[in-house]
């Protein structure tokens, strides 16, 4: 039985598509590093070549980030007249002021609303579905699981035109609902996959004894399934939050007006609006990365685990 489960989850992950090369974590169990955590001891001879390559890659990673940060603190004249890779001798905050004066916080809160709504709904809906899939004794549970696993293979990009049609027909075009509803749907398959693998590990006796005590299905869901699935829910929550927060395609296609603009789309629009004022655009880019940077500093372990959970099996 357990082998079957493993296989399913692995193949499921194999079919993961959207979210690009970023991929999606599959299966459950963000296992701790395990007993072999300290496995690889540095060998006696230091790996000089490896070390050099490591620092070289750091340069590749850091250079663009360094560049946007120093440019965001420059004035336009300064950018035109000096070497772009040397920090300005007269750093300024005017670019950040300009971005904040152009509704940045409004777009930020739109992103917060959409992300929180999607994640909350996905967690609730997926937990309920996982409970049904694991404990259902009819054929439906299994069939539903295969159907949802199939959903992981659907590339979001390829369905965007019908989604656009549907959203227009529902009269939701250019509202925050247009961003929330489809993103819940596309987050369900992977979330269910991860949560199901956790709920499966709950001993059947626990369900039965709660039944005997007269608990209804809602009580079982809240008092047994939910507490046991918390680690999986955190994984799913972090992963989906990152996806929604940084998502670009849905906002690009399903919204248009300033009122409902979210952060990634706002960067795109700032670039057009500020045009030649490159430092201001880059200030917006830097500001947009700050919330996740803060989250990363506070909860690095959780964020790394949330991104890669299940693959470390």
């Amino acid at each position: 039985m357990s082998t079957t489960v493993d296989d399913t989850s692995r193949q499921g992950s194999g079919r993961a598509t959207s979210g690009a090369g970023s991929g999606r974590p599959a299966a459950a169990a963000p296992k701790a590093q395990g007993p072999n955590h300290k496995a690889r001891k540095p060998t006696d001879r230091p790996n000089i070549l490896g070390g050099l390559a490591g620092w070289a890659w750091l340069a590749v990673i850091i250079l663009p980030i360094y560049f946007i940060v120093i440019t965001a603190f420059r004035s336009r004249q300064d950018l035109a007249n000096s070497n772009p890779l040397v920090p300005s001798s007269e750093p300024t905050l005017q670019n950040f002021v300009k971005v904040l004066e152009n509704d940045f916080m409004h777009f930020f809160f739109n992103s917060v609303i959409v992300t929180v709504a999607v994640v909350a709904a996905v967690l609730a809906v997926s937990l309920m579905a996982s409970y049904y899939i694991v404990r259902s004794t009819t054929f439906g549970g299994r069939r539903l699981f295969s159907l949802i696993l199939l959903g992981i293979a659907i590339p979001v990009q390829a369905t965007i035109i019908p989604v656009y049609y549907l959203i227009r027909e529902l009269g939701l075009y250019d509202t925050l609902w247009a961003l929330i509803l489809p993103q819940i749907a596309f987050a369900i398959p992977l979330s269910v996959l991860i949560i199901v693998n956790f709920v499966r590990d709950i001993p059947a006796e626990l369900f039965e004894s709660m039944r005997v005590d007269g608990a209804g299905e809602w009580k079982i869901l809240l008092n047994l399934v939910l507490p046991m699935a918390i680690p999986a829910m955190m994984t799913v929550g972090i992963y989906q939050a990152l996806q929604v927060w940084n998502g670009f395609l849905f906002p690009l296609i399903l919204t248009q007006s300033r009122e409902v603009r979210v952060l990634p789309l706002s960067l795109w629009e700032y670039q057009g609006q500020f045009a030649v004022d490159v430092p201001a655009t880059l200030a917006a880019v830097v500001l947009s990365a700050l919330p996740l940077l803060a989250a990363y500093i506070i909860g690095r372990r959780y964020i790394v685990a949330g991104l890669t959970a299940g693959f470390s099996k």
């Binding site: 090369g21 072999n36 750091l58 890779l85 309920m128 409970y131 019908p162 990634p264 990365a289 990363y296």
Partner: protein, 302 residues
């Protein structure tokens, strides 16, 4: 979990399973916004629709037109190049980085924290960053002033695709190297100790121990990379919008431009169907390959 149906006890349990109401919200969302659009894209590929009015039935016309267009063939070829070159670039770098990050040295732990940074940026943020960095006016080339650096990175049709592939790699290598780091840390230390005693050097250990032990991670990561880059849209769109002169117009961009810029939603849907077909075929193929290798490895392990 599946009980035998014969015993009366299982009948009792059957009645105790949660009702379908539990799954209903997920089914509704998933059905309406994922399954219906999937069917819808096939239907729309036989229609003519400008994105605003009412779609009208068009038969196979759209398909004939799209399949005959050079644009589509070009997009298919570019997509192939994009997927293959991206993989050749990302996979080795991610693997080596993952092995590097799995080391216990202090400086490697420090570097790993910084390697993660690209994952904190949205694709639009990364796109704008590199657009500026590669700008002929205030970017890398004027800053360094080296003659061999191209003045036009993203504006030169001959290298634009390669530059885009590099930027996409910058974005996604960190994620895959995390997978490999976790994979390496699962390898038992004892086999390295034994190999060291046997006199196997670092290279030998990497090729004879680390690589074979990482086979599942390699399969998982490769599948995500290949299928992911096949359908990738965001960053390429922000960087070049398919240009210059169509040099980076891979299938997903071809679909977007055809639909939302040229208002040919039928044609765009046909391209989307091609995308789904290629994607599913690729996934199934990879699953088959990984499935057979898994069986072999099971035998070897037994």
């Amino acid at each position: 979990m599946t009980q035998t149906v014969t015993s009366p006890k299982s009948d009792a349990r059957r009645r105790q399973g949660p009702s379908f109401l539990m799954a209903l919200p997920a089914v509704l969302f998933f059905g309406l916004f994922a399954l219906v659009p999937l069917a819808g894209v096939v239907v729309l590929s036989f229609m003519s629709w400008d994105g605003l009015g009412t779609p009208s039935f068009n038969g196979l016309d759209t398909w004939f037109r799209i399949l005959q267009e050079d644009q589509t063939r070009n997009a298919l070829w570019l997509t192939f190049l994009f997927v293959v070159i991206s993989y050749v670039f990302q996979a080795p770098v991610a693997l080596l980085l993952g092995v590097f990050m799995a080391g216990q040295q202090k400086y490697r732990a420090f570097l790993s924290v910084l390697y993660f940074l690209p994952l904190l940026f949205s694709s639009v943020a990364v796109g704008i960053t590199f657009q500026t960095l590669f700008s002929p006016n205030y970017g890398l080339s004027p800053a360094l002033g080296w003659d061999w650096l191209p003045a036009q990175w993203l504006g030169d049709p001959n290298i634009a695709l390669l530059v885009v592939i590099f930027v996409v790699g910058w974005c996604f290598v960190p994620f895959h190297s995390l997978l490999y780091q976790a994979g390496v840390r699962q390898i038992p230390a004892t086999i390295y100790e034994a190999a060291t005693i046997d006199g196997a050097g670092r290279m030998r250990q990497f090729f004879s121990l680390t690589l074979p032990q990482l086979r599942y991670t390699i399969i998982t990561s490769s599948t995500l990379m290949l299928v992911g880059s096949l359908t990738y849209f965001d960053l390429v769109f922000v960087l070049t919008q398919g240009g210059p002169a169509g040099a980076t117009r891979i299938l997903p961009l071809d679909m977007y431009i055809t639909g939302f810029r040229e208002y040919d939603m039928g044609g765009a849907s046909a391209i989307a169907v091609i995308l789904v077909a290629v994607g599913v075929t690729l996934s199934l193929l990879l699953n088959k390959i990984s499935g057979s290798s898994r069986m072999e490895s099971d035998k070897a392990g037994a």
